[in-house]
């Protein structure tokens, strides 16, 4: 039941903040491997089933080359911007990707992340203190969601947090689909120039932080150069704060709107790790970043995808596939299933996932323990959701207590 005639145009909008775009369900039922139209009129394939998305992301015949003209993008012309600079990890293929990832993944092991716990707790507490001491209502995005992961990634990388306004605004513009091409290009150039200078300083005098250690590692192994390190820094800085920030805002919003689930969390701290997995699944904020372009003819879900064709792995559809997640639309903090693809799958599965998990666990635990009276300070349906961004989230979340 697949047709070569595109019936759906992507990106589709969410009509309910708690659900994937409604189009996905129909696609999953009628043509799980669907032909879709993208902005600018190009077509691509979209995968909507959990099994197919996992299969594609684990298959080396699909490339992450985001400069390939067939790579499916939601902003026409995005490939050209990508082509101007070498993108790190997320746009690399074998044989380049493996060694590049190995060079940095040791910084993100479960143990290394656990060692950051006390410092992260301190950062979270300071920001909750400041929020409680400030006026009511407060905007949770400014008070907690953005500063906590930004501070953590800055300290980890060795980027001065004092510059956070600068890089937060640039990365926000890069991710917004409505930002004109020239504006996106400018944002990327400015961010790159800033990190280029920073890396040059670290090359002169290596500091004891992730970027400083990478400088030393490059010297030791003779692999990679200055431009590679700038690219890695850009990726880690953007990926390291935007995504987690959006999950903090959305997760808090969901818990405020589901008092039964909030009670489960407040009653039993052991629910916390599973609760974070469920919130990641439920929102699947990185819906279509997990896209690829086929380098050979490949059959997926019974459909032949030809070399050069683009394929969108729709993560929020996969994570709401009822064959894998019964009653997928229900938020169930005790679901106890970590098979979601909210962090992707295969060789590119999120490098920072264990940092993100820990930050989310610590923020939700601290916030609901210390502010038991926390509630929304605006009607839920009037909140500014990021419907125009490649990563779903909230621009603002007014709360009071």
């Amino acid at each position: 039941m697949t047709s070569d005639q595109p019936t759906v145009t992507l990106p589709a909008q969410r009509t309910c903040p708690f659900s994937p775009p409604t189009e996905y369900e129909g696609m999953r039922q009628n043509a799980p491997v669907s032909r879709v139209t993208l902005p600018g009129g190009r077509t691509a394939w979209a995968l909507t089933r959990h099994e197919d998305v996992r299969a594609m992301l684990a298959d080396p015949r699909f490339s992450s080359d985001r400069t390939h003209p067939g790579f499916p993008v939601f902003v026409e012309g995005q490939q050209q911007i990508a082509a101007r600079f070498k993108l790190s990890l997320i746009a690399m293929d074998p044989p380049e990707h493996g060694p590049a990832r190995r060079a940095v993944v040791g910084e993100f092991t479960v143990k290394r992340m656990a060692a950051l716990r006390p410092r992260i707790q301190q950062i979270v507490d300071e920001h909750v203190d400041a929020m409680l001491a400030g006026p009511r209502p407060a905007d949770l995005v400014r008070a907690l969601s953005l500063p906590v992961p930004s501070l953590v990634i800055c300290e980890l990388l060795g980027v001065p947090y004092a510059d956070h306004e600068f890089f937060q605004s640039r990365s926000g513009r890069l991710l917004r689909r409505t930002e004109p091409l020239a504006g996106r290009e400018q944002a990327r150039d400015e961010l790159r120039a800033y990190l280029d200078d920073l890396i040059t300083e670290k090359e002169r005098e290596p500091t004891d932080d992730l970027l400083g250690r990478q400088v030393l590692k490059q010297r030791e192994t003779g692999r990679g150069d200055h431009a590679d390190l700038v690219s890695l820094a850009v990726l880690l800085l953007i990926a390291g704060h935007e995504t987690t920030a959006n999950m903090i805002s959305l997760g808090t919003f969901a818990l405020l709107e589901h008092p039964g689930e909030r009670e489960k969390l407040e009653a039993d701290p052991d629910v916390l790790p599973g609760a974070v997995e469920e919130l990641l699944r439920y929102f699947s904020i990185v819906d279509a970043v997990t896209s690829r372009v086929a380098t050979e003819d490949v059959e997926i879900g019974g459909v032949l995808i030809r070399a050069g064709e683009g394929v969108l792995g729709l993560g929020s559809s996969a994570n709401h596939d009822p064959e894998v997640f019964p009653r997928p639309g229900e938020l169930d903090l005790r679901r106890g299933d970590r098979h979601h693809v909210a962090f992707g799958f295969g060789a590119h599965q999120c490098l920072g996932q264990n940092l993100a998990r820990m930050e989310l666990q610590m923020v939700f635990e601290t916030l609901f323990r210390r502010v038991p009276g926390l509630r929304l300070a605006a009607p839920a349906d009037e909140l500014p959701f990021k419907d125009d961004s490649n990563i779903y989230g909230l621009y603002e979340l007014p709360v009071t207590w």
Partner: protein, 65 residues
């Protein structure tokens, strides 16, 4: 049941360590999987099975021998 880990495939996501920290660890330098208990039993075997199903890179398998 014996755990077979192919470190050349491993992408260091650490999902195995989250599934069963008694059985899996990660190399400090490369982040790749280190099997602490080759032949786990009981609850640890269950955790190892979960890790095999969740590992994003297909680096883990269970062998009958």
């Amino acid at each position: 049941m014996r755990i077979v880990a192919d470190t050349s495939r491993c992408v260091g996501a650490g999902q195995c360590v989250l599934s069963e920290p008694e059985v899996f660890d990660q190399d400090e330098e490369e982040g790749t999987v280190v099997v602490l208990v080759e032949r786990p039993g009981g609850g640890e075997l269950e955790g190892a099975r979960e890790a095999v199903g969740i590992c994003p890179s297909g680096a883990l398998s269970l062998s009958e021998d």
